[in-house]
Amino acid sequence: MEGLKGIAKAQIWVLKNHISGIKKESRLKIIFLSGVIIFFWFGILALLYKGLSFFNNFPVVGPAMVDESIYIFFAALFIMLTISSIVISYVTYYNSREVDFLFSKPINDKVIFFYRFLQSTMFSSWAFLFLGVPFIIAYALIKHAPGWFYLTIPFYFISFIILPAALASVMVLIFIRLIGYRKIKYILIVTMGIAAIFSYTYYMTNIRSELFAESGINYFLNNILHHLSIFKYPLFPGYWIAKSIIYSSIRDFGNGLFYFLTFALTIVFCLQCNWIMAEKTFYSGWLSSRGSYTKKRFPANKGIVNKTAKLFFFLPRFTTAMVIKDIKVFLRDPGQWFQFLIYFAILAIYILNLRNIPSTIDHVDYDVFWKIIITFLNLSATALVLAGLSVRFLFPLISLEGNKIWLFGLAPINFRHLLFQKFIMSYVGIFLISEFLMISTNVMLKTNLSLLLISCGLAAVISAGLVGLSIGLGSIYPYFGEDNSAKIVSGFGGTLNFIVALVYVIFTVGSFALPLFSYEVYHTMSERTFYLVITVSWAINIVITIIIGIIPMILGYRQLENMEY
């Protein structure tokens, strides 16, 4: 296989250089940062364990709900990893200077393809490492799984990241070959639109009508379980891995192995398809992508973005220019806005689903306990989506200035202006999204005014913290040599951002949820103490938000100011 040895050696050298680069860093810094990551990783594990224990302790349906969570988790993650891998593969295979270089050398097409395939698989693996693995471990701890189960986790991890990547890769190869590089983005949007309409129609006609017909808490929970049965479609790969984990955790080795092998064989099949497709279509697809740059004209003073820009006359000129530039670059990069659309599609499905909950709750013994649970679960879900959005789209903002950063070093502007512009632009976007989500979901949940105000206030505070954290860490750990934002996020800084954001969100939501439970549900707190605790919670959260949001921004500013080009 021509070129395989060369690429493998080059990667080993890259790795060695990377390690020696790390060794040159201060040992204290390495120990501190490693410690922070390990600490936060175990923090996530502890929180997931607590959350699953909470559900597991529910009478009758508790253990079943925990199993359901495994199905949901792997189904959702499988779909998200597949969609995100489509975008990453598209960029990694056809929009990379490295591929141009490799194709100019006597290297076998299939070697180039699989090298890029492995890279795109690795970019998508980090989220699973920090969410999926702790989830499996937390589940295993609750189920008192045998010791050998823990040894199988790496196999689950590796196989679960390969299959979505392999499926996505086959899809991209086919799309590019049959449809062409430029049209693929339109095809993806239309496909997503059709899938969304189909899913919604199917849900309304086949599922919703069967739900919520009777009252009673057990019926309510049973309905939830029924409602979630779509995640257990037996031909769906996410189901096989969930089944394998469930069986293995209860020592049913035979069934666990059966489902794992089903999953593994599917991987082999998909890899084989990739192998065949790569030989026949990768080079020709890449060639067709080379001549595909648009000759479309974009008059500089026409179009919605330019016209809308006139509304920002009150902003400093530099800020307006940067905002317009960022919006144009974003809108002209399908890889970016396609992932943004995925987030919004997920949010739309989530909000539409909430419409069912108040009517359900009216029928059952719905009390303040459930009201608070649902409100804070809603707040947590929304905040976690915001955390995901900020890590995925805001952390790379400074890095994406890339090799053009010299323009700012040369221009008579201060890096404070640049960071301020990124912060303001991002905060306005994230704030509007978060408040829209909070108001719409709370209205659908028919929560009372005080819960609505707390949710909206918290969303505003969390948004500021998340935006500052992501832009600050993105400036402290920039990756200027890379145009692929998925790769930028998958580095150390992105991982740190993801973990800190996760813990920050959970802490913030928890600091309000716990006093509310104590006061409203368990009545272990007087009204006076409750308001005192809530006030203290606000104060602590604002201080933490300032620390989380401003300190990384200050350090990021210093980093940029001291940077050499």
Binding site: Y293, R297, A300, R317, V329, R332, K404, L407, L410, A411
Partner: protein
């Protein structure tokens, strides 16, 4: 216009620029030449404020780059050897963006953009995304962006890379005219013919040290060589 005093730059253990002293006057076209890794680009970036000196000072029009960087940046332009631009912007949008960064009058920079695009025969490509441009076309846009705010000092690193012969001639003429108008041009190049043709003075840098300085004739005389600048250059930079 540009005064460099005891300028030193280290990258770890590597000494890139070693105690450099140089003055480039108003209206002078100065070219720095030297072998690869001699410290040319580092010197240019230090002058443009894109690198921080380990020691020494750079003054641009009397402004100390370390203290009054903002004032200096308003009157200086830097053209890098690799034209990094925003691929998802059009050439015209990029130039307007630069106009905004320098807080120029909108009508003025729009008019100047048209003039520069026309000058570089880019008017038909101005509304196309720069991802579709060739290397030379991107280089032209970067040169246009450097000329947009009428800088008093132009620092330019390997200006002719990727340009077609007509554009090379155009850039040479523009830079020469710039110097003739009393502005300063500080260029680095490996093209010795170009240096010989357009420069008022030349500096030869080797291993971070300025080893020769003067007009072409002065350099030849000092090196005790006649004939081409290439022979002088090879003699002075020969590894012993």
């Amino acid at each position: 216009m540009v005064r460099i005093e005891q300028l030193t730059k280290r990258f770890g253990n590597t000494l890139a620029v070693d105690n450099l002293n140089l003055t480039i006057s108003k209206g002078e076209f100065f070219t720095i030449i030297g072998p690869n890794g001699a410290g040319k680009t580092t010197t240019l970036k230090l002058v443009a404020g894109l690198l921080r000196p380990t020691a020494g000072t750079v003054y641009v029009n009397g402004y100390d780059m370390a203290v009054k960087a903002m004032d200096a940046k308003k009157i200086i332009s830097f053209i890098p050897d690799v034209p990094y631009v925003y691929d998802k912007l059009t050439g015209r949008e990029f130039l307007w963006f630069i106009g905004e960064l320098y807080k120029m009058d909108k009508n003025y920079y729009e008019e100047k953009t048209e003039h520069l695009l026309d000058l570089f025969h880019m008017e038909n490509y101005g509304n196309q995304l720069m991802e579709s441009y060739s290397h030379g076309m991107k280089q032209k846009v970067v040169i246009c962006s450097a000329l947009l705010h009428d800088p008093k000092v132009i620092v330019i690193d390997e200006p002719m890379v990727g340009l077609d012969p007509r554009s090379i001639r155009l850039v040479k003429d523009i830079l020469r005219k710039h110097a003739n108008e009393g502005k300063t041009v500080f260029m680095s190049t490996h093209t010795l013919n170009l240096a010989e043709e357009v420069s008022d003075r030349i500096g030869i840098i080797h291993k971070g040290k300025l080893i020769s300085l003067g007009t072409v004739d002065e350099i030849k005389k000092a090196a005790e060589k006649t004939g081409k600048l290439e022979d002088v250059f090879l003699k002075l930079t020969a590894e012993t």
